[in-house]
Amino acid sequence: MAEYLILIYEDENGYATATPDVFQEVMEAHNRFAQQVGEKGGKMVAGNALQPTSTATTIRADVVTDGPFAETKEALGGYYLIEARDLDHALDIAKLCPARFGGVEVRPIMVFS
């Protein structure tokens, strides 16, 4: 098994304007996803949602500035760290990851040996 980070990139505006019903659906989808990872033969190691990029602070060469590292329409909004057998397995799991206002990126975790 190897570890992969699933990065969730979404349009923050989607959540800023979402109704309580939508939030409810999203929460349920994430709870379901946490369960599906195990059902797919993978393992959920960790996962978190992030506060929006309006709360982000960036540091480059010791200069502290307000805002995210890169201004993009779809911003990193959360992540899951999972265990999977190989990339196909990780992608199979990542396809189930909720991201209704964007998509996800899958990155293998570097192993130092």
């Binding site: 190897a2 057998r85 190989d86 990339l87 196909d88 990780a90 992608l91 899958v106 293998p108 040996s113």
Partner: protein, 452 residues
């Protein structure tokens, strides 16, 4: 095998057995044998490279190591075969040699394993097969055919299309980076970086060395067939080259299509692709006149089409089309078959071709397909009907940079006698093409239309 496995492994060390054994009058025989050997090795390179590399990769567990060992095995063959004769089964000889070398290297140096490791999936145990016991001797007689693993790994959707193409040529066809760079008209350093990056992704992201399961197979197979088709079309109409056809890429694509068909004889789209390539390639010799000038389908000398290839392609079509909804390669093959069997351009069954393009659009909604359909409509219902469809496509905008759209439009305008508009369209096409033969053709049409 002619050569004993032990000799094979000893031959992994060129010069170990010494050329000194040859003396005096043997020099001439040696020279002749050397020539035969070189030919045998070139042949084995073309035919067996994928088989040897695929089988070696599974033992080496590392693409770079496998490539090195296979290259060494070919070098070793040069020496061994000129001394002992060409073995009955060159592929098995090369594989045994390359695998032994890989095992030697792995034993000697554990550090190498971290290089570009390949994720090898163990074969699932076959129910009712022999109970676990001592493993059978590796590779001496029966070497499993891993070529499909290799192809599917090279064409994994997590790799960019250009990387899939480069890796397939490098790993499956055994082309050098220099050759691939030349074929695609990119600097060698760019191509080398592309290949290296793709190999690193395979190991870092753990792309498994395996044939996908039934659920993923259709999509994954489509990626493989797309790569082979792209190789063919790149060779067939080299984007910027002096000749219309770059033969080597075409031959490689044909080899790959044949290999896939022999390994997956029941896959209808594989059959469809092979049929399509055969039917297209049967016309290869007639695509340009002796001066290198491009000839349209309408002007090609049909008596010079390769009838054996056409027969082979046509025979494959029914099996590709029937047995479920046909795929895009099968439908294209069916269209190519109608063209190949028509006595002349005018006597082609255009109605059926229009119908088949309709089917093709339903499985593959591409504006290029719509353009081809428009050309067929012009033949079936007259240039005005075709022109209307082309103008609709122009509005759509997806083909703004596609040189064949203004070229097709120009041809219909010319046939309608609207010469001034035709010249304008030919000029737009000329602005979009870099292929020398195509440029000559368009320039010729402009001169004709301007003069007439």
């Amino acid at each position: 095998m002619t050569a004993e496995p032990d000799q094979a492994s000893g031959a992994g060390n060129p010069g170990a057995a010494g050329d000194g054994r040859f003396r005096g009058g043997r020099a001439a025989r040696r020279a002749r044998a050397g020539k035969d050997t070189a030919a045998a090795i070139a042949d084995a390179h073309r035919r067996e490279w994928a088989f040897v590399l695929a089988a070696t990769a599974r033992v080496a567990g590392d693409i770079d190591l496998a490539e090195e060992c296979v290259q060494d095995a070919y070098v070793a063959a040069l020496d061994a075969w000129s001394r002992q004769g060409v073995p009955d089964n060159p592929g098995a000889w090369l594989t045994t040699t390359a695998r032994r070398r890989a095992i030697d290297v792995l034993r000697r140096s554990a550090t190498l394993r971290g290089k570009l490791p390949l994720l090898i999936e163990p074969e699932p145990p076959v129910p009712g097969s022999a109970p676990p016991g001592p493993a059978p001797a590796e590779g001496d007689d029966v070497i499993p055919d891993d070529r499909l693993r290799l192809v599917f790994t090279c064409c994994h959707p997590a790799l960019a299309r250009e990387a899939q193409v480069a890796l397939t040529l490098r790993l499956v066809c055994g082309l050098t980076t220099t050759e691939i760079a030349q074929a695609f008209l990119v600097p060698e350093a760019t191509m080398a970086a592309r290949v290296t990056r793709a190999k690193k992704k395979i190991s870092a992201a753990r792309i498994a060395y395996r044939v996908p399961g039934p659920a993923e197979l259709p999509d994954r197979l489509d990626a493989v067939l797309t790569v082979v088709h792209l190789l063919y079309t790149t060779g067939h109409t080299a984007p910027g080259g002096e000749n219309v056809v770059r033969d080597d890429l075409v031959e490689r694509a044909m080899d790959l299509a044949r290999m896939l068909h022999s390994l997956m004889p029941d896959e209808r789209e594989v059959r469809g692709l092979l049929a399509l390539l055969l039917l297209t390639d049967a016309r290869r010799g007639t695509r340009a006149d002796p001066g290198g000038r491009l000839l349209l389908l309408a002007d090609q000398d049909r008596s010079r089409w390769d009838r054996a290839m056409i027969a082979e392609g046509v025979a494959l079509v029914p099996g590709a089309i029937r047995g479920g909804p046909p795929g895009r390669f099968a439908v294209q093959a069916a269209i190519a078959a109608l063209h190949a069997e028509a006595p002349s351009y005018g006597q082609t069954d255009w109605r059926q071709i229009v119908q088949l393009y309709g089917v093709l659009l339903s499985v593959w909604n591409s504006p290029v397909v719509a353009l081809n359909r428009a050309v067929a409509v012009a033949m079936a219902d007259g240039p005005e009907a075709g022109l209307a469809e082309i103008e609709e496509l122009e509005q759509d905008g997806r083909l703004a940079d596609y040189r064949y759209l203004p070229a097709a439009k120009a041809d219909l305008l010319r046939r309608l006698g609207r010469q001034a508009e035709a010249v304008r369209a030919y000029r737009s096409a000329l602005d979009l093409t870099m292929n020398a033969a195509e440029r000559d053709f368009l320039a010729g049409r402009i001169a004709e239309a301007s003069g007439g």
